[in-house]
Structure formats: structure tokens, C-alpha cells
């Protein structure tokens, strides 16, 4: 998603496409990356040929490169993805991704396996990086892009993946001490909104409503993906081949992910959300309180409003020239209308 730090990436909301760089500059970039990874692997006792295919385009934050690694003595190339941070994303996001991928590795959550990583800057790239397996599939921007019955099948698969994720013992993973993004909770968002005052009136009223109606803080914390939605998933037919973009993973409440999964980021998802929530309840063995659900849904719309304002600010101040961020402000009235409808107990359109 786009926020004030231009945090959105090729597989985090925008369909990734490999740029078939034919220019000298692109070829040089690829060669440098390949050489850097090859040298780093050698220091770990892995001699391998590395070839960088290209870069996922339309990303706004992290760099995502597609590459093949052929370890010495092996016959099969390993199709992989290299992720590097940018100044916008911050180097901590790589360590969080790495920890999250390790946490889910032995679970039934479909996710790329981490292959190699370095949390330090003491490597040929001068910044942390993670190399993960490259999974097959396509990355639809949103649920609305999927035709039925595939959409429902994938929505159910997403629920099942969430059940598996939330069932992992958080305390036994490296994520137990991870700090959630300020964009996923009310206090963090309230703080972030400070730089956009005066806020749109509907948004200001929503923040008051959220503060007054805050549900009791759930004692149960699970591994929350933080940005669990179609747009961050690879799909292959009716199967989710991989949940991507784990840089916001941290301890959190179940409803954070469950509510976010089908929130209309742009278009309405067109799924039977009540049936999907029931599926989650039955499979996770929990009960979703309707008032808490409404509160978290309003919070989700508030978060979307933040992204719209932050994206617009990023463009307006010259921090980004990406015209998608310029256009993101146009989603603000749509989001706030949906937020107001939720507060009023009306259908969201």
C-alpha cells in the first residue's frame, strides 16, 4: 500500500511484471546484482552461478528482482526472488519479512521459503536483503478481478491460510518481539494523522467514534500478516500458491487480518463476507463479536484514508513523482463514504 513513505510494492497491491530491460543500464544493474549475490554466497561456502532476469516493475518501495541460482554440482536452477530495501521502505522491513517467512515455513501457510538472507549492511549490496524461492502464479490487484466461482474458492483458501497463520505459536517465532506498523492500530494512526490536520470532517468524526468505542484490548495475540489481502497473494487456479509481502508481520489481533482481507481497497470484493467470517470462526474455533468486527472495519477504512492522504502528500511535496500517488487522493472520498456507510449500518457500495 502507498503511505507517506511510499510503501507499496510490485506484489503488494500492484501486479508485478518483469521489465525485459534491453538497455545497457538495465543489463549493468542485473550483472552487478548477480555478481554481488554470487560473491556473498561464496563467503557462505556456496559456489553458484547467479543470473538476474529482471526487476518487478510498478513497485514503490522495496526492490524486487527475479533471478536464477545454480549451485555448483546441481542440475536444477533455483528460481528465486531477491528483495532489497530502499530509503522509503527502511532496512527493518527486510528483517521482518525474513522472520515472518521463517515463522511460517513449517506451517500450512502458503508462502515462499527463505533461501538466503543478510540482516546487516556488510555485504556487496550495502543493505540487508533476503532471497526467497520464486513461486508460480499471478497476482491479481483485487478480489473483483477474479471471476466466479474462482473468486469464492480463493476467498475460502485465503480464510484457511489465515486460520493456519493465526494458529502458529507466536511466542515460538522470531516475530514475537516485532513491533506492529503504526498504520494498523488506532493510536498509531491517530499519531500519523497529526501531520494532515485539519482532517476531513468525516475522518475526524470517525477517529472520535473509534476512540470512544474501542473494544477491550484482546489478550490473545497472533502472528498478524498486517496486509493480508488479494493484491498480496499469488494465485494459481483456485489455489493460493503464496502469501507475499510480509514486511508488516507482527503480533496483533485476529480481526486485524480478517477485517483487512476483504476491505474494499479500491473496488468492492464481491464476496460473501459473512459466510467467510463463519468459515474462519468454525475452523479457528473462535467467535467474532459483531461490535468488534464493526470497530475493526471502521479502523480499516481509516487506515485506507491515511494511505490516500499520505500518498497525496508524498506526491505534492515532491518526494515522489509517481502519478499513482497523485491519483490516490481520488480514492479518499470513496473510502470515507464507505466508512460513513459502515458507521450508519448501511450497505457499503
Amino acid at each position: 500500500m502507498a503511505d507517506g513513505s511510499d510503501r507499496s510494492d510490485g506484489s503488494g497491491g500492484w501486479t508485478a511484471a518483469v521489465r525485459d530491460a534491453a538497455t545497457g543500464a538495465g543489463a549493468e544493474d542485473r550483472a552487478k546484482l548477480a555478481d554481488g549475490l554470487r560473491r556473498w554466497l561464496a563467503t557462505r561456502g556456496v559456489r553458484a552461478e547467479v543470473s538476474v532476469r529482471g526487476r518487478a516493475t510498478v513497485g514503490l518501495s522495496q526492490e524486487t528482482w527475479f533471478l536464477d541460482v545454480l549451485p555448483e554440482g546441481e542440475r536444477e536452477r533455483v528460481a528465486a526472488v531477491l528483495r532489497l530495501p530502499t530509503p522509503a521502505s527502511g532496512s527493518g522491513s527486510i528483517a521482518t519479512q525474513r522472520a515472518a517467512l521463517q515463522a511460517v515455513l513449517a506451517s500450512d501457510v502458503p508462502a515462499p521459503a527463505p533461501l538466503w538472507f543478510d540482516d546487516s549492511e556488510h555485504n556487496p549490496f550495502g543493505r540487508p536483503f533476503v532471497v526467497m524461492e520464486r513461486l508460480t502464479g499471478e497476482a491479481p490487484v483485487g478480489w473483483h478481478e477474479l471471476p466466479e466461482p474462482r473468486r469464492t474458492a480463493l476467498a475460502e483458501a485465503a480464510i484457511d491460510a489465515l486460520v493456519h497463520l493465526h494458529a502458529i505459536d507466536l511466542a515460538a517465532t522470531p516475530l514475537a518481539r516485532a513491533r506492529p506498523s503504526p498504520t494498523v492500530d488506532l493510536d498509531g494512526l491517530t499519531y500519523l494523522f497529526g501531520r494532515f490536520e485539519p482532517l476531513p470532517a468525516v475522518l475526524a468524526a470517525a477517529l472520535v467514534w473509534l476512540q470512544r468505542g474501542r473494544p477491550p484490548h484482546g489478550k490473545e495475540q497472533v502472528i498478524a500478516h498486517g496486509d493480508f489481502r488479494m493484491g498480496n497473494m499469488l494465485v494459481d487456479g483456485r489455489r493460493i500458491s503464496g502469501v507475499l509481502d510480509w514486511e508488516m508481520a507482527a503480533p496483533g489481533e485476529r480481526l486485524l487480518d480478517l477485517c483487512w482481507c476483504f476491505v474494499p481497497v479500491f473496488e468492492l470484493p464481491g464476496v460473501d463476507e459473512q459466510a467467510l467470517v463463519r468459515r474462519y470462526e468454525q475452523r479457528a474455533g473462535v467467535s467474532v463479536d459483531p461490535d468488534a468486527w464493526k470497530w475493526h472495519r471502521v479502523l480499516a477504512f481509516t487506515r485506507l484514508a491515511y494511505y490516500a492522504l499520505a500518498g497525496a502528500r508524498s506526491f505534492d511535496t515532491g518526494r515522489s513523482r509517481d502519478l499513482r500517488l497523485a491519483a490516490l487522493r481520488l480514492q479518499l472520498p470513496v473510502t470515507l463514504d464507505r466508512l460513513a456507510a459502515t458507521l450508519a449500518g448501511e450497505a457499503v457500495e
Binding site: 511484471a17 510498478v58 483485487g142 476531513p200 499513482r324 481520488l330 472520498p333 458507521l343
Partner: protein
């Protein structure tokens, strides 16, 4: 665009016309990344100035809502709904699929 009888230095250009032209340009561009940027630009052009549509009614609704908030009073959802619907009616929807994937 509202008609303004004041003399102008040159004929004003229609944002809607600009948006159509940019969309046509996007359709001719092969590079996906450039296409997404052009689609985003077209959306911005199509909505230029529209943020002020309904200004009079908006000002009244905002004043009422902000007044209630400042006095610590609750703001009934229907009032929020009215303002939100007014704002949403002003925007021409963005084709986010085109603006994100080209």
C-alpha cells in the same frame, strides 16, 4: 467546467478532453509502467477542479460536524453520510486496474 464570461488570454482546455487524450495515449504505449502512469494521470486530469463541486453545501455540513466535535457532542452517522455522499458524488471513479497494472 463552469462558464466564466471574463475575457481570457487563450481558450481554456477541458480537463475531460485531456483525460480522454491521455487514455488514448496510454492505449498506444507498450511499456506497462508508463501505461500505468498515464492512466493515473488521466484520472487526475478528469477530476481537476472537481474537489470544489458542492462547495456551498459542503461548507455547511463540515461546519455542523466540526461544531459538534468541538462541543464534544456525538455526530450522528446520517450527517456523516450526507457529507461523505456529497464528496463521493464529486469524483469520477478511477480505473485502478488500469492505473496499477496498465
Amino acid at each position: 467546467m463552469s462558464a466564466d464570461p471574463s475575457p481570457v488570454a487563450w481558450p481554456p482546455v477541458s480537463p475531460a478532453r485531456l483525460a480522454e487524450s491521455v487514455a488514448a495515449l496510454a492505449a498506444r504505449v507498450g511499456e506497462p509502467e508508463i501505461r500505468t502512469q498515464l492512466h493515473a494521470l488521466g484520472a487526475v486530469l478528469a477530476n481537476l477542479g472537481a474537489e470544489r463541486d458542492g462547495a456551498g453545501e459542503r461548507a455547511l455540513l463540515v461546519a455542523e460536524i466540526e461544531g459538534r466535535l468541538q462541543r464534544g457532542e456525538s455526530v450522528q452517522p446520517p450527517l456523516l453520510r450526507r457529507l461523505a455522499a456529497l464528496d463521493r458524488a464529486a469524483v469520477q471513479p478511477v480505473d485502478w486496474s488500469a492505473a496499477s497494472s496498465g
